[in-house]
Point group: C2
Chain length 341, copies 2
Amino acid sequence: MAVTLQQIAEKAGVSRGTVDRALNNRGRINAEVAENIRRIAREMGYQPNRAGRALAMSRHNITIGVIIQAADTPFMEKVLEGTMEAKAEVERLGASVIVEKIHGVDADQVVDTMQRLKEAGCNGIAMVPVEDDKLKETVNTFIGENIPVVTFNSDIEDTGRLCFIGQNALQSGKVAAGLMAEIVPVESKILIISGYPSNQSHKNRVKGFAGEMAACREDVKVLDVQYAFDDDKVAERITEEMLKEHKNLAGIYLAASGVGGVCKALDAKDLGGKVKVISNDLTVRNEECLRKGTIQFLLGQNAYVQGYEPIMTLFNKLFDGKEPEQEYAYTEIVIKNRYNL
Amino acid sequence: MAVTLQQIAEKAGVSRGTVDRALNNRGRINAEVAENIRRIAREMGYQPNRAGRALAMSRHNITIGVIIQAADTPFMEKVLEGTMEAKAEVERLGASVIVEKIHGVDADQVVDTMQRLKEAGCNGIAMVPVEDDKLKETVNTFIGENIPVVTFNSDIEDTGRLCFIGQNALQSGKVAAGLMAEIVPVESKILIISGYPSNQSHKNRVKGFAGEMAACREDVKVLDVQYAFDDDKVAERITEEMLKEHKNLAGIYLAASGVGGVCKALDAKDLGGKVKVISNDLTVRNEECLRKGTIQFLLGQNAYVQGYEPIMTLFNKLFDGKEPEQEYAYTEIVIKNRYNL
DNA sequence: TTGAAAGCGCTAACAA
DNA sequence: TTGTTAGCGCTTTCAA
């Protein structure tokens, strides 16, 4: 059996309350007595019982608020799945989680939701932020009021937010480059299709890809970046045009959405599997293309973890006082081919 | 706040004990009353509080025994890491975990250890088994005595063991084939180096690789399987010989250990990066070769999960009565290139 | 500065 | 068949 507070108390000849004060640095205790108790606890290998702690703490009514973009994409659905799992898990330990879905990328709405969550008694907030000054300000206000904020999926820089959980977009681009470098022939051309020029994460993927490609395959020419605005139709048109223009186009790196369009264009010319395609996000449709062989690799960003971890991070902070291990918790970059889906 | 037994009891006009009996099917209760209570619980969205449950159950002294091969390989060290993490986690909920490391692959020793763990009061066993009839018998005896057994890393067939947690070796071979098929040129030759002819998991990897290779790259010739007996020296010699014998050797698939030897042989002829190498296991030395570019891909089998999950699976079974979701819990097959290590 | 005691939600033994 | 109660390990309040 594990060591309990009571056992330590007996050995130290004091009461349970005193041991508690000593081990949790609650003050109101004689320094020597405290030191002695800590020594005994160390010697006995004391590990606090989480169940007992959770039960006693359940009076504190720890509440975590989550602000998440509406789950209208398969990716966000997967995120939400992780969120709901984490919610169930911490609620079984006596805490509460309030999930607020918002639609579109409206900073004001995010700010309003934060306020509402605070009024509802939230002790911590996890959210997918948008780039906005007023939002930054609000985040810092919350921090000042001792309400930690965790960002996930995208980050909001220069604030006191506790940590960010999401993908290292630059690294993701590099991983794609490493794959592409292995599978395209010498002296060939490669096309990059991105989403929005303004999107930070798309930008970083492209940067990582182009940089690494230049570094390890000097013979390959990377064409100017095209933007598909996450639109299959646009991606299809771009692909068609570039295929026409560049005879020896050997590979396409999709830094954002548009797989469907690219595949349609390739299949129409019977080039599926010939022109190598590497893309992002493990959506059902993307996986289909992978299985068919029209695309060669998909890079995943572990949506589930992105939904799950922020809540757990906040819970650990609020419940155990444990700070996250690092400020940037990058999720693993997952490589999928048709066999390990 | 979450719903409690007490709240249900009040609404149903009965006592907490009765609600407990109803929701946990403990019998000794009027069927109609029970049904009514269950309905109310459902309506109120009752979720049992894990902390309360854990605390009450801690009198049962749930003990889990783990039998693991000595941690003298980096892989097993990683497994052990997962084991220790899971141990800490369930012990913080009031259970106990006894980890027994054994040396070599001696069935008798495994059987002895199982007996010892039973005498020490273990209510469940997680282990890396070896193929042996006496061991099978012992496993079945334990099952008969209501002590569930979970196998991990390797499996033991035809017994009543609760489940197996580990890699799908056949699929791992296929994933490797999918990668190799993308990176070797037409009309080239590929070498397979396995470990032991008798090792089930090596055999399955080879089978998966060869089968899939034949299916998707008819132009490529797969040479006869060579065995390196997990020995770098042997792997090196094989590589040297085959390089001499086959001019257009384009790829090597290593189904077991020996990466160091293969790389040495390739580097000696300045063929690192030219002859494509795909291997298994994310050991430090292997990762080094990947970073240097001498090998192209490593397939991981998530050692940590293999150490962690068996304990959690047993704990869920013993604590919640929850059966594992599937009999074969295959760990994800992880693809690593030099950028996502 | 310390001790005593109540209570968190649940299980289980005992009493009715 | 049902109710009552003690107790799991911990936190926290109140009293000493």
